[in-house]
Every structure is written in structure tokens, then in C-alpha cells.
């Protein structure tokens, strides 16, 4: 199955969306990411796997400069989005985050109605001229997040009143509503039950048709199911990066093999 996806990937992807070169991240004195260089392809699901504390979430947060909100965090090296350095002084991190959306580990709907949660981004970025435009964006986003049928009759109910899985899909709808080019997902299913997880995974497969998705996950099955490319991080190093099928069936580095067979982690 993985090999088939591998073939499919080859057909649909071509150019690099993100290019990272020699990225170093420090938390105070702690060297959290060491010399990471990676090309993340457009219209592809890329999975970051690795044991806890290996730096995969940290690296993910570098891609939309979420680490800027942490005072002691320092990023060195180049990260290019469509050939443009996102850490350049000219780049506004706020604009960048509108292009690179993010879904977090724990569902974090705002304490607002479902409608207002989804409309949040479009309102901030002035994407809708009229109320009808906004309604359309909200409906489209909720449909894309496979939440429309459950939520259409309660758009004015608070987003916090949904179940865990619904909340996470609401957060995905919220991220999708700003029409990002890349969607970063930081362990989006770790707080969800198996049914909600499979719904979110189906969603990821759909999302790939429109933009590139980077997902951090602890579940190797999930990485194998949803991704076309997999990067294995260990202790701040990018150990191995390649096609998912290849990494899981024929890892080149002994550490990768140990991790996916459950010996380290």
C-alpha cells in the first residue's frame, strides 16, 4: 500500500515549498535543533516522526515563526518559503502565519460561536467583503473539514461545546478558512479517539490536493497512512528523510530502524 502511495506522490509533486538550510534552534543554552536541512514539497503530506523531545515540534514551529512568541528561543540558518527567507527582516511574521496555518495538539477553539471561530481569520485578513462572502467562506471551510453536516444547525453555538474530535475539525476548518499555502499540524490526533482520528486523517488526505501539509505525529502507523514523505528526527538531528514507503520498509540509518521497530523511543 505504501509503495502505491509512493508512486502516486511521484506523479503529483514537483517543486519544494519550504527549503531549510542548516537550521539551528537554541532554547537559552539548549541546542534543540542541529543542522537541519530539508526540502518540503508542495501538495504533499510530510510527516515528522521521532521520540519525544527530539525537536520535531520545535522545527515545525520554526516554519511559521511561532517560536517568536518564546523569548528565549533563537533560530539560525535559512528557511525559505517559495525561495523567500521567512526570517528576513522584510517578512512580517503575522502575514507569514496567514500563509502557513497551524493546527495544534490540543483542540483550542476560541470561546466564541462555531461561526465566529471559522470567520476569525477571514475577518482579520479582510477576505470577505460582504456577510454573504463570509457565510460562503465559513460553509466551504466547514465542509472541507467534514464538519458542516454536524455543525450547520448550530453555527451560533459555542465552539467549546463540541466534542473533542469535532473541536479539532473546527480548528482545522478555522485554519483552512484563511486559505493557507501550507498547513502545519502538531500531533493533531493525540487528544482524539480512534474514530475522530480516522476522520481527521481522511481530512488530511483531502487537504493535500490543495496545499502542502506537514504533520508531527507520534504514531508511526499514522505517518505511514497519511504521509508521502517522512522525516525522522532524533535528539535534534534530522536523521533520515525520504519517501514514506522507503523509510518504513527500508530505512538506511540504524537509528531509524531501531525507532520504527520500537527499540528506541
Amino acid at each position: 500500500m505504501n509503495d502505491m502511495r509512493f508512486v502516486e506522490t511521484r506523479v503529483t509533486t514537483n517543486e519544494a515549498k519550504f527549503t531549510a538550510k542548516d537550521v539551528q534552534v537554541y532554547y537559552g543554552d539548549n541546542h534543540a535543533i542541529k543542522d537541519v536541512s530539508i526540502d518540503i514539497e508542495d501538495k504533499t503530506v510530510t510527516a515528522f516522526i521521532g521520540p519525544s523531545g527530539c525537536g520535531k515540534s520545535t522545527f515545525l514551529r520554526c516554519l511559521n515563526r511561532m517560536n517568536d512568541t518564546i523569548d528565549i528561543c533563537r533560530v539560525e540558518g535559512d528557511i525559505l518559503l517559495d525561495g523567500e527567507d521567512i526570517y528576513d527582516k522584510k517578512v512580517d511574521p503575522v502575514q507569514l502565519r496567514a500563509r502557513v496555518g497551524m493546527v495544534f495538539q490540543k483542540p483550542n477553539p476560541f470561546p466564541k460561536s462555531i461561526y465566529d471561530n471559522v470567520a476569525y481569520g477571514p475577518r482579520i485578513h479582510g477576505m470577505a467583503r460582504t456577510r454573504a462572502d463570509l457565510d460562503e467562506i465559513v460553509e466551504k471551510s466547514l465542509r472541507r473539514a467534514a464538519l458542516w453536516d454536524e455543525a450547520k444547525d448550530r453555527l451560533n453555538a459555542p465552539g467549546t461545546g463540541l466534542s473533542g474530535g469535532q473541536q479539532q475539525r473546527l480548528c482545522i476548518a478555522r485554519a483552512v478558512a484563511t486559505e493557507p499555502e501550507v498547513l502545519l499540524m502538531d500531533e493533531p490526533c493525540s487528544a482524539l479517539d480512534p474514530i475522530a482520528t480516522s476522520q481527521v486523517e481522511e481530512l488530511i488526505a483531502d487537504l493535500r490536493t490543495r496545499f502542502s501539509v506537514v504533520i508531527v505525529t507520534h504514531s508511526m502507523q499514522q505517518a505511514a497512512r497519511v504521509s508521502q514523505k517522512t522525516a525522522f528526527f532524533h535528539l535534534g538531528d534530522l536523521v533520515e528523510y525520504g519517501d514514506t514507503g522507503h523509510i518504513f520498509t527500508n530505512p538506511e540509518d540504524p537509528r531509524t530502524e531501531s525507532y520504527i521497530t520500537g527499540r528506541i523511543g
Binding site: 503575522v94 495544534f104 483550542n108 476560541f110 470561546p111 482579520i124
Partner: protein
Amino acid sequence: MPFLWLVLILLAIAAVGYALGRARALASSGGDIVQLHSLPVYYGSNAALKSLVPALAVLAVWLVAQPIYVTNVVSGMIPQAQIAEGVSDSLALSEVRRIADGLDLAVANGALTEGEARDGNADVGALTQTLQDAGAVVTNEITAQALAAAQRFRALSAGGAWAMTAVVIAIAVIGAFVGIRQTHKDFRARNVVEQGIRALLIAASLIAILTTLGIVLSLVFNTIEFFRLYPALDFFFGTEWAPSFTGRGGASSLGVLPLLWGTIYISVVALVVAVPIGLFSAIYLSEYASPAVRSFAKPLLEVLAGIPTIVYGLFALLTVGPLLVSVFGEGGLLGVNWQGGGRAVITAGIVMGIMLIPFVSSLSDDIINAVPQALRDGSYGLGATQSETVKQVILPAALPGIVGAILLAASRAIGETMIVVLGAGAAARLSLSPFEAMTTVTAKIVSQLTGDSDFASPEALVAFALGMTLFILTLGLNILALHIVRKYREQYE
């Protein structure tokens, strides 16, 4: 026997009980602590608690009950005819108490022997002279009945004190003995001590609650007394506040409306000052400031909360008042001549607002910090700026808590006195202009009760009705605030 000595003896008995209980526990297990059900400390504490708690409880009850009993007996001895002369019951009783104290003093000075002091047939005139020579404060004529009552008072008090000492010490010794006897290696001393601690905690909270209840009851009874002397309708709907102290209940107008209006007006001005400044500084401190700035600025802001209100009052009187007059007064910067003097609603309101800033900012800061970081991340992750995040996510999430903080600040503003006295003056007035002097409920309570006040007149009792009004007002605000804060908490836990 002095009270202090009695307590020391009780403590000594408890200490001995502790040592013996501990030793007996160790002995019962042959010195092996592991064999005991509880640590040796608990066996000792058990004995100490058993001796101390009942003894102290009896002591407390006795201390309350004895004066009541003695007073009852003695007041029965004073002829009703004498009381009817216009001297109130309590005055006659306090006279008796003064004579008894005088006798004690005279005996202590050596002016009288104990036998002479107890002599029921003593010459009243000579005794009065002796007591006055000894420095006691008594009236010129001690009546024979009063003397007899005083002597009975002394006898009862002294006898009661001895009986109390004996009973309490006996209870302590018996308690210690019981505690020591119980001690055995299988006795569950830990659990007993646990219960003792629990009882102690319950007692502490009971005292707090009962005291509150006592305060409320004293307010209620005095308020009822006031309404018996003064019509409630006039109090609640009267628009004039003009108490007369010369006529003793003559033509006083005691309408609460001017005072309530002043209170609410000044509080509103204070909140208009305090809420935006406090809230914005809280937002700056919790969302924008770097840790270094925050660790420096937050304590600095909280210094404001440590300034005594009388100092704020001086600030209002000497700085803010004249400053405002130089802007709004005659020949001022604006040339409007609105403000006649420094004492005005706006002066007190602004200074009170400054006082409330740390109150609002500190509480709001805590509440804003309690908003989960995940919500901020979510908003930033969608490309929102900091102020967009604050305005659209953090403030709505924290709003119920902030409203609670504001209501708590409001109830402080309503209860504030010193700033009003010094900043707003003492004139009770119904006016819409913030540049006029006005006064508040609290300031008037102070002025009604300071000086030589007769607690039977409506002019003094009105203070309790005012206090009750204020209490209900702030209680309502506090309940509302707590309710809102609680509702907010449920949202995130």
C-alpha cells in the same frame, strides 16, 4: 488567680501528658517504633490534646457564662424604684461594678482590709470617702443597696474565679490521665490527632463565620431600633440630609438619597479612572511586557495598593484639588469657572480611581494570565497580531473575570471613607455637577458617630441604618462578582 497563670498551668499539664504519653507508647512496644500503630509524637499529642481541649473549652464557656450569671444575680438586688428615677438599668449596674472595682483597689492599696471590704454594715459615707482617697472612681453617694450589690458582686466573682481554676485544672489532669491510659501500641493515635486537627480547623472557620454573623446582627438590631424612632420612608426617600445635634431628636432630616447619590457618583468617577488604566496596564504587563519589565513594573504598580488611604486623602486635598481648580476653576486654564473649591466629586473620584488601579490591574492580570496559552497560539497561528488577539480572543475569554474584578473594585470604592472626607468635603448634596462638593454614606457614618454621641438618638442610630444600606449594597456587588468569577472558572477547568 490570674488568667495567664491558669493557661500556663494548663500548658504545663499538657506538656507532661505529652511526655508521659510518648514514653508510655515507646514502652508498650519495647522501644521499637515500627511496632507502634502511630509515631510516638502522635501518642504524646493525643494525651496533650485530651487534656488541653476540654479544659480550654470549659474555660471559654465559663469566662462567658460567669459575668452573665453574676450580673443577673446582682441586678436583682438593685431596687426597681431606683432604676425608675431615670437612670437606666445598665448605668446602675456599671455603678455597682465601679464600686466593686474601687473596693478591690482599696484592698490592694491597704486602705481597707479584706474584712472591712466585705462588711455589709459599713458606714456608707465613710466608705465612699475611703474609696475616693484610694483613687477609685465612684460617685459621691454610694447607696447601701449599691454597696451590698457591689459586695455580692465581688464575692461571686472571686468565688467563681476560684471554682473555675479548680474545675479547669481538674479537667486537664483527668484528660491527660485518660490520654495516657489509652496509650498502647495498637491504639490509633494518628487518627485521633487527625480528628483533633480537623476540629481545630472547623473551630477557626466557625469563629470567622460567627463574627460576621455577630456584626450583621448588631447592624440589624440597631437599624430596627433606628426605624422605630425615625420613619423608614423618610430615610429611604428623603432628599435632604440635615441632622441636628442640638435639639436631641428635634427637626433632623435624615434622608439617605443625597448620601447614596454622592457614594455612587464618586464611585462611578473612580471606576471611570481606574478601569481603563488598570485594565490596559494589566494587558500590557501580561501580554506585551518582557519578563524583565514585568518583574520590575508589577511590584511597582502594587506599591500603589500599599499606600494608606489617608495619604491618598492628603494627595487629593493638597495636590489634585488645587490642580483641578487651576484648570476648571475661576481664572483657570479653561476659563470656565465650574469648580469653586478643591473639594469636589471629581477630586475624590480621580484619587480614588488611582487607588483602585492596582486592584483592577492585579486581578485582571491574574485573570488574563489564566487564559490558556493554546488560545493565544491558535490566534497567532491564524496570522492575528497581538492587539487583535487581545481584543478578539483574550478579552472575551477573560471578560467575566474582569467584570468580577471591576465589581470587587466598585465595592471597595463604595466603602472608601478617608479620600472622600478629605477630597470631596462633607456637604450632603444632590447635584449633577462633578465639580461640587458632595459626601458619601461612609463619611457621614464617621461624622455621626465621632464626638459625644447619645446612642439612643436617631442622629446616632442612623449610622447603623447607613451601615446596613452600605453593607447590602456591597454584599450585592460582591455576590454578583463572585457569581461571575465562578461562572468564568467553569469554562476552563
